[in-house]
Every structure is written in C-alpha cells, then in structure tokens.
Symmetry: C2
Amino acid sequence: MTTENKKVTITHIAKMANVSPSTVSRVLRGSAEVSEAKRTAIQQAIEELQYRPNIFAQSLASGQSMTIGVLTQNFGSPFYDGILQGILQGLEGSDYWPMFADGRWYEKVEKHALHLLLDRRVDGLIIIGGQLDAEMLHSILKTTPLVVVAREIPPIRNRCLYVNNYEAGYAATRYLIDMGHRHIAHITAPTINKIAIDDVEKRFEGYKQALIDASLPIDPHLIVEGNLLQQSGVLAVEMLLSRGRPFSAIFAANDQMAFGARLALYRRGIRVPEDVSLVGVDDEPSAAYIVPPLTTVRQPAVEMGQVAAKAILAFINGKTPELTPFKAHLVVRESVSRYR
Amino acid sequence: MTTENKKVTITHIAKMANVSPSTVSRVLRGSAEVSEAKRTAIQQAIEELQYRPNIFAQSLASGQSMTIGVLTQNFGSPFYDGILQGILQGLEGSDYWPMFADGRWYEKVEKHALHLLLDRRVDGLIIIGGQLDAEMLHSILKTTPLVVVAREIPPIRNRCLYVNNYEAGYAATRYLIDMGHRHIAHITAPTINKIAIDDVEKRFEGYKQALIDASLPIDPHLIVEGNLLQQSGVLAVEMLLSRGRPFSAIFAANDQMAFGARLALYRRGIRVPEDVSLVGVDDEPSAAYIVPPLTTVRQPAVEMGQVAAKAILAFINGKTPELTPFKAHLVVRESVSRYR
DNA sequence: CGATATTGTGAAAGCGTTTTCAGAATTCTA
DNA sequence: TAGAATTCTGAAAACGCTTTCACAATATCG
C-alpha cells in the first residue's frame, strides 16, 4: 500500500483513461451518467494509480467540507463521551467526518472553538451542552445546520435533543420516597457561576417537587452544592455530615458526585445501602460496577449521539426531522434499600 | 458576530486596502515584510469585513492542512481518553488542529480510518495503540511524520512513546509479594486473538518474573484471561473461585478488569482488602474513587498525550526530538492489605 | 555619486477539483 | 426518416488562496 500517491491527480487518471477530467469527476461523485466503457476504464486507472482525490480541492470547488463540527464541553467525562461515541456511530457510513473541539465549559474557550470549527467550514454543527446564548446559536443557524444535544434552548427547541431532567430528578426522589425515606439529601451543582447547568437545576426542581407532592419538607440543610466531579461528592458528604441533620438517603445530581459521596461514606464507616441509600444520574458505564452497583437515572447518551448525527445529516439534506425529547428512566441496582 | 462572511475573500480586502492580494496574503501569514502603512490598512479591512480565510484554499495552495491526525482504538476508554486530552492540551496554542478517528481495535477499521486521515492530508499522525504492522507504519513515515503512543514497535522505536509495561507488571506483583502474599492471581488478556495487547503481555511477563525472583511458583490455575472490560473482571473472578485454588491477592492487567473483579468479590461476600487484595494498572480517574480506592500502577496517560503532541509538532518542523520511555509507578491506595 | 544590495510590491501562474455550457452522438417520435 | 428529445462528453471558467518572478524604490558601499 504505497503512499506515494502524493502527485496523482485527476488529470493523470483522465489521460490514462482517455477522457477529460470532467468525466473522471463525474464517475467519482456519481453526479452524471457515464458510459459503461469509460467508467470502467476510469475505475481501472484509479485503481492502478492508487488515486486519492484531494479533499481540499474538492471542498474548495464544491463548497462542501463533508465535515460535521462537534463542540463538546468535556472530552473525558463519561457522559459526554457516550454522546461522542453515538455521534461516531451515527455518522458511520455517511460520507461525513466529525471534527471535535472542546469548550471545557469556559465560555471564552467555547466561542473560540466554535469559530475554529466555523472557519473549517463544517457543513453541520453538533453542540453538546455549553453556554452559547440562544441569539448566537440563532445567527449560526442562518448559515449552518445545527443540532444541540443535552441542552434545552427554548427559542430553538426544535433543534435540541435532551432528556427531561425535571422528570429525572423527580423519578429519583420519588423512588427514594417510595422506599420509605423521609430525609433525603441532595447534591446539586451551582447554577449561578455560569457553569450553565440548567440540566442540574431541573433535576433539583424535580427533587423539590417530589418532596412537595409527598408532603415532605424541603430542608435547606440537606442540600449541598458540588461541581459535578467526584471530589466534590466527597466534600458534599463531609459537609452534610458536619451539619448534623440526619438523613437516610442521598440523591446526587450526577453519577460522578455519587461516586465521591459513596467514598466519603465508606471513609466514615457508613454503609451503603444499609445506612444510607444513594441515587445518581447518568448511568455512566462504571455505575454498574461500583460497589454496590449504583441505582441511577439513565441518560441515553449513546442514543442521543446517534440521533444527533442522523438529525444533522437530515438537516444538511434539507429535511426537517422531528426531534423528540428522550425519556430518562430509573435503573434500579443495589445502592438503595428500604428504610426501616 | 455576523456569520455572513461567506463571501469575503482575500481580494475584497485587497481592494479595500488598496493593495494586491499577494500583499494581504503576506501579512496574513507573516511570510514577508510589509510596510507599516499597508499592514495596518489591511488589518483594518480584515477587521471591518470580518474576513476569515478559506482554509481549503489555503491548504490547496500551500499543501499544508494544519491538521494532525489522531488514530485511537477506543474512544471512551478512560486510559485512551487521557491520552486524547493530553494531545488536545499539547496542541493548544499551535496552529494545528487534531482530527480524530477510531480504529476500535479492529484491524480493518483501523486501516480504513488511517486512510481517511491520510486522505485528509494530515500534516502529522499520532497513532495510539493499534495493530498496524511495522512495515506499514514505516511506509507511512516516508511521507508523513508519525508518533506512536502506548505501543512499542521495535523498528521505529524512536517514534514510540510508551511505558515499560514489564516493569509495571513486576512492580504490582512485587508489591503484593512484599505485603506477604504468596498466592497471587492474575487477570490478563488474550494475546492470540489479534487484540494485539503486547502491553498486557509484558505486564504478564513482569508478573511471572516477580514470582520467579521471589522463588514463588507460577500457578496456571491462578491465571485467567479477560478482555480488558469490566465485565470480564467479574467473569474472571467467578472462574478463579470455581477453580478452588486459594489466593489472597489479585493483580488485574488493567483497572477496568480490577473494577469488575472487585464487584464479583463483593457479590460473593469476599472483602477487599481484608480477604483479598487487589491491584490494577492504569490509574484511571475513577480508580481513586471506588471503594476501597484502588492501588494501581499509574500510566501517565495525559502526559504521554502532551508529549506526543509536542513531538509531532517538532517532527513536522524538521526536528528530531528524543522520545524516552515513561516510567510507570505504583500508586498505593487502600485495596491491598498485609497478608496475615 | 555611480554601482550594488536590500526591501517592498504586484502580476500571474499555479494548487486539484467541480460545474456550467454547448456541442456531438444517440435514441425516440410521429 | 426528418426532427425532436435524450445522453454523453470536453473545454473552460470558477473556487480562494500561495508563491515565484521581476521590477521599482530605497538604502548602502567604496
């Protein structure tokens, strides 16, 4: 498999097949009928010369990059990673290629990354989470098809793919209540500091509403803020414990914080689920493998990625797919026990 | 921030600044001196018209894509992910952009992905793991700078970035021996089925040598094969238990299998570390947060990624950086206890 | 102060495709 | 079977930049 195709151009193969470059281009892209004879001659020449079209020339001439920009916030978080995987799968078989950029949850970085992607003339854009405001997204939409994943932005809701986070929070809390728990702590994440977690806030609201519906008080002493990372789950539990308010269950706004919480409890000799029950959100891959396996609310990350990919392809082709919210559902494992 | 720059070309801004396109190009790339007056006029025009160069035209004309191809095997495995993160960081600030492809540990997929990357005319290539044979890599090297991460390929060792996996296996096993363990099980991964894990095999060898050096027998009944995923760790422990050979410690060839093992032990009511000690390899992010926190051999994934990025940039610039193997070192946490 | 370097600049020729346009060849229609 | 409709095909003009070349305009030297 030589790689010295460096210089083989469409003209070479045109000459070799005794046709014009236009014709070669036609069989390459299947953009018009070409007689059987010439077609095979061309294909043979391509084979023989190991011809590979120059993508830049193609893009320049056609105005298409055959590329989908994917703007994520956290390469490396299991949840975002699932989405990425789904996108990869969804794009497979299409002629489009994903191009990733990482906004790292910093608005400035995110904007910069977005521009790089746009400079790269992506044919479509998938934005995962982030903080770009609706207005900006709307203006992008004028020139570039767009799908937003894991975030709900009212003005362009028909371009958004998300789970109902309110229901997620509600379901988790409700389950704990049904299991007899009355003092349920919650680890949330700040919503002020621009870390733009509407998702997390929705879960928080679900938590509160579930309590209200069960005529249970919302006790501020049982609510702590983390930052979505494991370590903050550890800290959150320390904090909870230091406040001295008794609780028999913890609902963490994501699995990573739940993992941290679980470790902190272990350190204090508090057993899960015998002493304290624990519920997370996301159903990360490792949730099923911690000890005890974590009961959590599943966000169908991979599926969302797949759907996002299919959707952006559809938009690019001028279609208008219906984007329906995903259902989050409780995955019952072993980190919750009935309160006695 | 309008995005209707669609049509602003270098010619427009040349006209606006009363210069020729050549001159604009010169200030754009800083490829030659331009008088102060024209320079500022040009910059102003760029600003005003919100000009963004067309990357395809640039690449076509210059022959450079300003892109680094990154071929990974497993988007989503924490270890590979760390490397990716490192690459992202290492590339930051350079004008190069990474382009990812996933070989999924299938030789066919990997080859295909490689070709797509090469078609994309990447200026450099970082290959993480994989099974491409030395010959093929060697031929790529003729046209494209290359760095291989997390894999040691003798004929092009000066292009490889890896940790000494033999030492990793040795260190883990030795530690267990030093802690008084005499019956140490090992969960490895198949090396036959083309899943090309020389790394894992090296760890296995380290394990064996450590036993030999301590005059301990190598007991085939204490060796099981997994596939590097959590679930296989579960199965491995089941298998081990069913064989009835007593053991007081397990060395798993990677953290994910260690996690699975830990779960299986929990299911059987076997305590870690009181009854059985456990050691993994990788030091994945979650290793510090499982219960009990896992003692493991750290592979500096992020650092390797960073170095790989720096190295490929150096190669592109015609330099020849020295690539020295990384050290793996034991991270002692709480999953091992002294054997009584 | 004329000859020689140096610096800044524009014209124009690529880079390797796609695509429009028009004409040639073929097939169809009445 | 003449004319009309279809199919194929090639020439040539984009696409938006970079870069070579040559030539002014300056600066430098003996």
